[in-house]
C-alpha cells in the first residue's frame, strides 16, 4: 500500500461526514428534538465541513480530478494558508468539531464519521502529506524547435568585385575548364 495518499480517502470521508452531520442537524431542528441547540450547531458545523472539504487537493503523484465547480472553494480555502494546508490542523479541527455532535442522537453518526475522517487525516499528516490547491494551468507554449534554422543574415563570401568581373579584353583567361565534358561526345 505504498502509494496511498490517505488524504484522498480522508477527504471523501470528511465530506460524507459533513453531509451526515448536516442531515442529522436538520432532522433535529425540524423535529424540534430535545437538545435541538446541538442540532443547530450540527447544521452550521456540517456546512462548514462541507465547504472546507469540497475542494480536492492536488495529488502528489498522478492526475488530480477536481470536483465540478470547486475553483471558488479552492480560492477561499487557499486564502487561509498554512491553516488549511497542514493536515495536522485539519485532523484536530475535525476532532474538535465532532465532539458536540455526540450529545444528541440525531448527530451521533455524523460525529463518529467525522472522528474517523479526523483519524485518517492524522495518518495522512504523519506521512507528510499536505493540501495543494488545484489551479488551472497557464498555457505554456512549446518553445520553437531548435531545428528551425534562421535564414542566413549575410550573403555567402565572394571574392572582391574586381576579380569577379570577367575581363572583356582577355577572353582566353576569362574562360574556365569544365571538370566534366559538356559536349555530346
Amino acid at each position: 500500500m505504498g502509494q496511498i495518499e490517505w488524504a484522498m480517502w480522508a477527504n471523501e470521508q470528511a465530506l460524507a461526514a459533513g453531509l451526515i452531520l448536516l442531515t442529522g442537524g436538520v432532522v433535529g431542528v425540524a423535529g424540534q428534538f430535545r437538545g435541538w441547540e446541538f442540532a443547530a450547531y450540527a447544521v452550521a458545523a456540517g456546512v462548514f465541513v462541507c465547504l472546507l472539504e469540497y475542494p480536492r487537493s492536488k495529488r502528489a503523484k498522478g492526475t488530480s480530478v477536481a470536483r465540478s465547480g470547486q475553483y471558488c472553494f479552492t480560492v477561499c480555502v487557499k486564502a487561509f494558508g498554512p491553516l488549511t494546508r497542514n493536515y495536522y490542523v485539519r485532523a484536530f479541527l475535525h476532532a474538535a468539531i465532532c465532539v458536540p455532535g455526540g450529545f444528541m442522537l440525531a448527530t451521533v453518526l455524523g460525529c463518529v464519521c467525522l472522528g474517523i475522517a479526523s483519524l485518517i487525516y492524522l495518518a495522512a499528516a504523519i506521512r507528510g502529506e499536505h493540501w495543494e490547491p488545484i489551479l488551472p494551468q497557464k498555457d505554456t507554449r512549446k518553445p520553437v524547435a531548435q531545428s528551425i534554422k534562421n535564414p542566413p543574415q549575410n550573403p555567402p563570401p565572394r571574392p572582391p568585385a574586381e576579380l569577379r568581373r570577367k575581363p572583356a579584353k582577355d577572353l582566353e583567361s576569362a574562360a574556365y575548364d569544365n571538370p566534366m565534358s559538356v559536349t555530346d561526345e
Binding site: 500500500m1 505504498g2 502509494q3 496511498i4 495518499e5 484522498m8 480517502w9 471523501e12 470521508q13 460524507a16 451526515i20 442531515t23 442529522g24 432532522v27 433535529g28 423535529g31 428534538f33 430535545r34 437538545g35 480536492r56 495529488r59 498522478g62 480530478v65 455526540g102 450529545f103 444528541m104 442522537l105 440525531a106 451521533v108 453518526l109 463518529v112 464519521c113 474517523i116 524547435a145
Partner: protein, 566 residues
Amino acid sequence: MGNCIINNGFTSFMLVVWMAINIFLFVWYYFFYDLGDQFFYTRHLLGSALAWARAPAAVLNFNCMLILLPVCRNLLSLIRGSFVCCSRTMRKQLDKNLSFHKLVAYTIALMTAVHMIAHLLNVEWYNNSRQGVYDELSTALSNLADTENTTYLNPIHITSLDPQQIPTYFVFTTIAGLTGIIITLSLILIITSSMEVIRRSYFEVFWYTHHLFIIFFAGLVFHGAGRIVRRQTTTDPPHNFTLCKDRIDDWGKIPECPIPQFEGGFPQTWMWVIGPMVLYICERVLRFIRYLQIVKYRKIVMRPSKVLELQMVKSGFKMEVGQYVFLNCPAISQLEWHPFTMTSAPEEDFFSVHIRSAGDWTNKLIDIMQKLPEGAQGPKMGVDGPFGTASEDVFDYEVSMLVGAGIGVTPFASILKSIWYKFKDSNPKLRTRKIYFYWLCRETHAFEWFADLLQVLEREMEERGMVDFLTYKLYLTGWDQSHVDHVKVRFDEDTDVVTGLKQKTHYGRPVWDKEFEQVRKENPTSVVGTFLCGPEALGKVLEKKCAKYSDVDPRKTKFYFNKENF
C-alpha cells in the same frame, strides 16, 4: 434503432422490473404499517414515521439480497454457460454485473438514509411519550411494561437519565440500535472508499475496506432480533381500540377493554439474505479452490515497453475468444485478484496474458519476473476464470471488419490467432473468408508485441499464398513532426518504419467513408460483420456507417454492426 433495442432493450426491461419491485415493496409495506389495525396504538405514539421506517426496511431487505449476486462471477459464468443455446443478449446482461451492483448499492444507501431519519423521529417520540409530554393515551401506553400480565409497547423503559441522553442510551443498549449504528458506519466507510477516485488510484484501500460487508451482513441479520417494532395481539376478550382508546382508566376493569397486549414482529431479514450469503460463500470457496490448482508457466517473456507476457498451463482450463481471467499472486498480495484479457487462442494448448505496467501490483509482478533466472518457474499464481462473453459471432460472417482502439486491441490478438488456426485447419465453424483489421492507437508504445503478432501472421500468409486473407491498417493518431521526419527519410523502404510490417502505417484517424467504400467494392455480394473494441463515440460512428453503406438489395453488400463489450 433495431440495434439499440436489441442491445439495450433487455437491460432497460430488467431495470424496469427491478424498479417496479422496489416501488411495490415500498408502497405495500407503507400501507401495511400505516393502515393496519394492529398498529393503531403504535401509530398513536409514532405517527406515520412508523410506516416511513418500515417501508424502506422492506426495500433494504430486497436489495441486500440482490447485492451479493452480481459479484458471484463463477455463478454468473455457470448461468451464462447454460444460455449457450439462447440469445446472445441474455449472456451480455450478465456482463453488466458491476453496474448493477453499484446501482443496488446506491439504492441501499438512499433507503438507509430514509430508514435512519424515520427511526430518529421514532426514538425521539417514544422518549417523549415515556416522559409524559404527550396525551394521556400515549402515557398510558408507554407505561405498559413487560410483566406477567402486560407486554410493552414503548421499548424505551428508562426514565432516570437526562432525557436528552436517553435516545442515545437506548440506541447503544438495544440490539437493533447497536447493530444499526455499526452497519451504517460500515456502509459509509464502504461507500467513501468505493468512490471512483479512490478505487482507480488506491485499489487496495477500496478492496480491503469493502470487506466490511461481512460486518454489514452479520449486523443486518441480527438487526431485528430485539423485536422492538410492536403490534397489538388479539386478546380474549378482544380489545377494541376504537371503543377503548378514550377509556384508559377502565382498561382491565371492564370486559370490553382488557389491557392491550403487544408482541414484536418476527425478524425476517435473514430469510431474504441467507440464500445469497450461502451462494457468495460458495463463490469464495470456489475461488480458493481455483487458487490452489497448480498453474505451470510455459514461457515468461519481457516484451518492449514494460509489457510482460505470461504463457501458462492449467489442467482442465478451457477458454474461448475474447475472455478474461483473474490473476492472484500471493507473493505480491494475498487478497488481490486482477483481471486480464487473454491473448491466446483456444486452439493453443496454453493460455497467455500480456500484462502492462500500470500500477502497484503489475509493477511488482514485472519486477519479480525480471529478477528470475533463465528458464525458471515463476512465482505461484492463482488463476480464476475464464469469464466474459465469448465473441463467437466473429466467426459467423463471410467478411469481417475488426476495429480495435488503443488497449481494445488486446482481445483481437486472441481473435486473430483463433481465426488463423481455424483457417489452417479448415474448421467448418469458420465462415470468414476475408478480414479487414483496423488498429487505431495514439502510439505503438506498449503494443509492439501486437505488431510482432501481425508480422508472424503476415509471414505465414505469404508462405501459403494467402496474402489477401487479412488486410490490416494501423492508424497512429498521436503523430508529430519527428514522426514525419522519420517517415520522409525512409519512405522508399519495403516495410513500415514504425511497425516493421509490410502495410504502411497511416497517420491520423481513418476516413471511414473511404474504408467502407473499399470494403463494399471488394466484396460486392457479402454480408460484412463489424466488430469494435474501443470507445463509445467510435461505436456510434461505425453504427451509422454500417447503416449508410448497407444495400437494401439482398444480393448486395450488407454491413452489420456488433457492439461487443470485451
